[in-house]
């Protein structure tokens, strides 16, 4: 056992949705951890359970979902924690930003009111004046020009990139230890995606944030993540340091993701893409969940769920992980 527990540790997290008495698991036992000041990238296709899992870890699962497993923050168990205690953590120690900054901001409240709320909720004794000052500083922190004027404006008066900056400002309002960013650039124009990633990376380094970066684009993680967890069909299929993962991917799904990153230098005619679609909720194939789409699936893959094989800090859930990696791709 570690003397210092990791900042954030998820073990065997399961989230199930029920309909007519039967439950289907969208998250099927995810385990991962983030240390202080570390950037963990979580990558997977939409519907793979990566967002649902992280929301559920903070008690924000949709109504009717069943959550089990263990989520520890600084050693404290979050699953089953009273709502009140969870609320105190959310927005103060653990913050989140979401994919679409337009729909994530309240259209009828000014930007100032929304940032101030984040400050006020966790500092109820702070004076109005001080709260507004803090909100202005936060806007300046994420490099929004003319923060004084901007405070009084509504979300629809901001551009997409500016809105996401506001979301980031709101998230870091109380100097959190952990920031969970769920596809923070997906809904933005390509031109501003890089800017937002820079703002995030800059704040992460300055505030020593533990950062969970959820994305469907492995390329985003190359320059920004320390470690990467690859999620497929509600499970972590591979986890490794970012360089290790790109150099020696152990899971065929990861290899597919790497191959499908648009390469700016080598002018490829056509992008590689993985054949098929991920399994629907509650309709898993027998054996390895990835086998119907896997280019090198064998007989065993169709019958037996793969074990998680390890090589140092690198783990992959494939019958053939680390076996002839170099030749397979």
């Amino acid at each position: 056992m570690n003397a210092h527990p990791p900042l954030f540790e998820v073990r065997d997290l399961r989230v199930a949705f029920g309909r007519n008495g039967t439950f289907a698991e969208a998250v099927r036992g995810i385990s991962l951890h983030v240390d202080h000041g570390e950037v963990l990238g979580i990558v997977g296709e939409s519907g793979s359970g990566k967002s649902v899992g992280m929301l559920a870890a903070l008690g924000l699962q949709p109504e009717g979902a069943r959550v089990s497993g263990s989520v520890r923050f600084k050693g404290r168990e979050l699953v089953g924690l009273p709502r009140r205690d969870l609320r105190e953590l959310r927005g103060s120690r653990i913050a989140m930003i979401f994919q679409d900054p337009l729909s994530s901001l309240n259209p009828v409240m000014t930007i100032g009111a929304q940032i101030s709320e984040a400050v006020h909720l966790h500092n109820p004794d702070l004076s109005r004046r001080a709260v507004i000052d803090r909100a202005r500083d936060l806007l300046a922190l994420v490099a929004i020009p003319q923060p004084d004027r901007r405070l009084h404006q509504y979300p629809h008066e901001f551009s997409g990139g500016m809105r996401q900056r506001v979301m980031i400002a709101m998230a870091v309002a109380n100097d959190p230890d952990l920031l969970i960013a769920d596809e923070p650039t997906t809904a933005l124009d390509v031109t501003v995606q890089a800017q937002i990633m820079d703002v995030l990376a800059d704040l992460q380094a300055r505030l020593k944030l533990g950062l969970v970066l959820i994305t469907h684009d492995l390329g985003v993680l190359a320059g920004h993540a320390d470690r990467v967890a690859v999620v497929y069909a509600g499970e972590v299929v591979e986890q490794a340091g970012v360089d290790d993962l790109f150099a020696r991917p152990g899971h065929p799904y990861t290899r597919g993701l790497i191959a499908s990153i648009p390469d700016m230098t080598a002018q490829k005619d056509r992008l590689f893409s993985i054949e098929g679609t991920p399994p629907a909720l509650g309709r898993l194939p027998a054996g390895c969940a990835f086998n119907p789409r896997c280019v090198n699936a064998q007989e065993i893959c169709r019958h037996q769920a793969p074990p998680t094989l390890r090589r140092g800090d690198h783990s992959a859930a494939c019958h053939f992980a680390f076996a002839g990696t170099e030749s397979a791709a």
């Binding site: 029920g18 007519n20 008495g21 109504e63 009717g64 979902a65 069943r66």
Partner: protein, 278 residues
């Protein structure tokens, strides 16, 4: 966290509880409309007992100020209220739909004139306008009915016009016009058949509200005249016999249940067509 109960009674999707409840309530009153004479022991105008008797086994809802059986009168009331409502809605739909279709199809000055008339009519609080029309025409059930048609037709005119404008834009209509069909033919063969359904559904749902309006007019003395066992005027009788609460109970429950029936049906249909709201 909340979990979904394990077992749940599964019904066909169209068969929801409000719809079924509404159906039976309306069915009951339709039966009363047809069979009231055989459902009751007394004729509605017969003075069968002592005056103002509270409910008893002989008279389940008591007797009124003239010694008539309130239950019998209530059931017979359906024979007045329901046909009136149906007639009023039928006339309102016919007038409104014709004018609305005309406005939508012809457009231009015809559209403007008809729709301004609609706007002005809908600018009055409905009850006040109905009262003014009914009073101008003089008391009596027919005049009250005319007043209600006058208040109600613009609703269908608006609905029909919107339908016609919508259907007109569809491809098959444009194709018919392109292939040289006459105006009348396009309207009667290609547009109107597709416009009726929503108008008729809405008209059926409105029956309850029309029953309420008719009873309101009768209650203030502008509809059915005294001996008639009409619910609104029966409640007016009850109001003048305030301390004999049962006189107004029967007709009040009658209006409540039949209007509730129509509202349940409307609600059930709404659930069916728009399951998101559930």
């Amino acid at each position: 966290m909340t979990t979904i109960p394990a077992t749940r009674l599964t019904l066909p999707r169209w068969l929801n509880l409000p719809l079924v409840l509404g159906f039976f309530l309306v069915l009951f009153w339709l039966a009363a409309t047809i069979a009231a004479p055989w459902m009751t022991g007394h004729a509605p105008l017969d003075m069968v007992g002592r005056r103002l008797q509270p409910p008893s086994w002989d008279h389940l809802l008591g007797t009124d100020a003239l010694g008539r059986d309130v239950l019998s009168r209530t059931l017979h009331g359906a024979r007045h209220s329901i046909p009136i409502a149906v007639t009023v809605v039928a006339f309102a739909v016919t007038i409104g739909a014709c004018l609305g279709a005309l406005a939508g199809f012809v457009g231009g000055i015809v559209d403007t004139v008809i729709m301004r008339l609609v706007d002005v009519t809908l600018s009055f609080p409905p009850m006040l306008l109905a009262m003014a029309v009914a009073a101008s025409l003089g008391p009596g059930l027919e005049n009250a009915a005319i007043a209600m048609v006058a208040v109600w037709w613009p609703i269908y005119a608006r609905l029909m016009r919107a339908q016609v404008l919508e259907v007109r834009e569809r491809e098959h209509v444009e194709a018919a016009i392109a292939s040289g069909a006459t105006q009348t033919r396009v309207l009667t063969r290609h547009v109107l058949p597709l416009c009726w359904t929503p108008v008729l559904i809405s008209a059926t749902m409105d029956l309850g509200q029309v029953i309420l309006l008719a009873a309101s007019l009768s209650f203030i003395g502008l509809g059915a005249t005294p001996p008639t066992p009409e619910w609104g005027s029966m409640i007016a009788d009850g109001a003048s016999q305030f301390y004999s609460w049962w006189v107004a109970l029967g007709p009040g429950l009658a209006i409540l249940t039949i209007v509730l029936g129509f509202n349940f049906i409307g609600d059930g249909l709404h659930d069916y067509f728009d399951p998101r709201s559930k």
